[in-house]
């Protein structure tokens, strides 16, 4: 079963600070979504609202058509995993699994056991005695084994070393293909995990500045490199995300589709057209321009 998520004019204030500013989007569900944003862009705040950890200041959130906050039917279907976790330090790994198993309706015990073995999690150890990587692995185990129709990982895997992270990506994908559900992953390790996202949302200073299919987004960026006057002529009227100049050679990152004529012109003038990686697009789209905007 998959649940759609609808967010309309969402705002969240912490006192006088506005963390989420008029955010609206619709997720059809049953896909892997990437939520990208710099530190402090409002990712965790947004995800906390989806998971009913907080209530929004204003605006509407609907998961499966219902408001999630304090809605038992929805809350038990939304599993939100953060790196630090919310269990007390004095609880043991086994206790965390026990509690999770008792709370999540779709909990898959065999799957949990397999993940515990994969990550070599010590059942008897207390959380305070676990390394950062182990804590992350425990969070990932709970999230995956919860089999919650909406499973959210908020940078939950950052504490793991590269081999464990890749094992997680593989598990996530495998599990997603076997039992499709909605995954939302927030991250800044875009290079590693970007290929898993079907859609990408980018938050910047509390605003949702982008929500696109990953492939479409990737194809919309280009770098144009060549003699500066030609490049300037070519990029007129395009959204310029960034510029670099080396002598008379200029390299401009643009966002948007190049027309056939522009491509022809570029080819004729010996201009180099290059792709832009998701990571680069993200960096350009969320770059501070020094004027606080």
């Amino acid at each position: 079963m998959t649940l759609g998520i609808e967010v309309k004019s969402l705002q969240l204030n912490y006192g006088s600070f506005r963390a989420i500013k008029d955010v609206s989007f619709t997720l059809a569900g049953g896909k892997i979504y990437g939520l990208l944003g710099r530190n402090g862009s409002g990712k965790t705040s947004l995800l906390s609202i989806l998971a009913s950890f907080r209530e929004q200041t204003s605006g509407v959130v609907a998961i499966g058509g219902e408001a999630p906050f304090e809605n038992a039917k929805i809350m038990e279907q939304v599993c939100f995993i953060q790196e630090s976790g919310y269990m007390q330090d004095s609880t043991s790994v086994a206790d965390v699994l026990r509690l999770s198993e008792s709370c999540w309706p779709n909990w898959d015990r065999e799957y949990a056991a397999r993940l515990i073995q994969l990550y070599e999690l010590p059942l008897k150890k207390r959380l305070s005695a676990l390394s950062r990587g182990m804590k992350s692995a425990l969070g990932v185990t709970v999230g995956l084994a919860s089999r919650a129709p909406v499973t959210i990982f908020d940078e939950a895997y950052l504490g793991m070393d590269a081999p464990s992270r890749y094992a997680f990506y593989e598990e996530l994908l495998q599990d997603y293909m076997e039992t499709p559900r909605t995954f939302i992953l927030s991250t800044h390790l875009i290079e590693e995990i970007g290929t898993l996202f079907e859609e990408v949302l980018i938050l910047d200073q509390g605003h949702l500045i982008m929500h696109e299919e990953t492939d479409a987004l990737r194809s919309r960026g280009a770098t144009i490199t060549g003699p500066d006057e030609v490049v300037d002529r070519l990029t007129e009227g395009l959204t310029v995300l960034g510029e670099q100049q080396l002598g008379r050679t200029k390299s401009v990152t643009v966002f948007g589709e190049l027309t056939k004529e522009q491509r022809k012109l570029a080819l004729a003038e010996g201009i180099e057209l290059g792709p832009v990686s998701l990571q680069d697009l993200f960096v350009h789209l969320t770059k501070r321009r020094g004027d606080g905007q």
């Binding site: 896909k31 892997i32 593989e170 293909m177 898993l196 996202f197 079907e198 990953t214 492939d215 792709p275």
Partner: protein, 122 residues
């Protein structure tokens, strides 16, 4: 794995086409499923499916309901035909443009090709 130069689904389509041209995939042979592709390359299955969609639209693959995707009968022929056309446009024309830029005369190029040809025949 993926070089980010073109959309991933395009690269997947190209990879399958290449396998067909090289004879690794025969006519009416079943192609790996989108899920297998996704797991192998660690990409979203929807992305892999897009690549497959591209190939069915071009008539290179066909779908058997409930079983999977198969290589069309005339896939290899048409792919080779297509590549031949592109060969002159993309390889020969570009080579000539480059030669022109650095002042290599065409006669020298022809000489080189004939030499290679003789070596191959020997």
């Amino acid at each position: 794995m993926f070089d980010d130069r073109s959309p991933i689904y395009q690269q997947i389509a190209d990879k399958i086409k290449d396998d067909i041209v090289r004879g690794l995939l025969q006519e009416d042979e079943q192609v790996m499923s989108t899920n297998q592709f996704a797991a192998f390359y660690r990409i979203n299955p929807a992305t892999a499916a897009k690549g497959f969609h591209l190939l069915t639209e071009e008539g290179i693959l066909y779908k058997k309901r409930g079983i999977g995707m198969f290589v069309s009968g005339e896939a290899r022929q048409s792919l080779i035909q297509n590549r031949r056309e592109r060969f002159f446009e993309e390889v020969v024309d570009q080579m000539l443009a480059e030669a022109d830029k650095i002042g290599v005369p065409i006669s020298e190029i022809i000489g080189r090709i004939e030499k290679a040809n003789r070596r191959n025949e020997a």
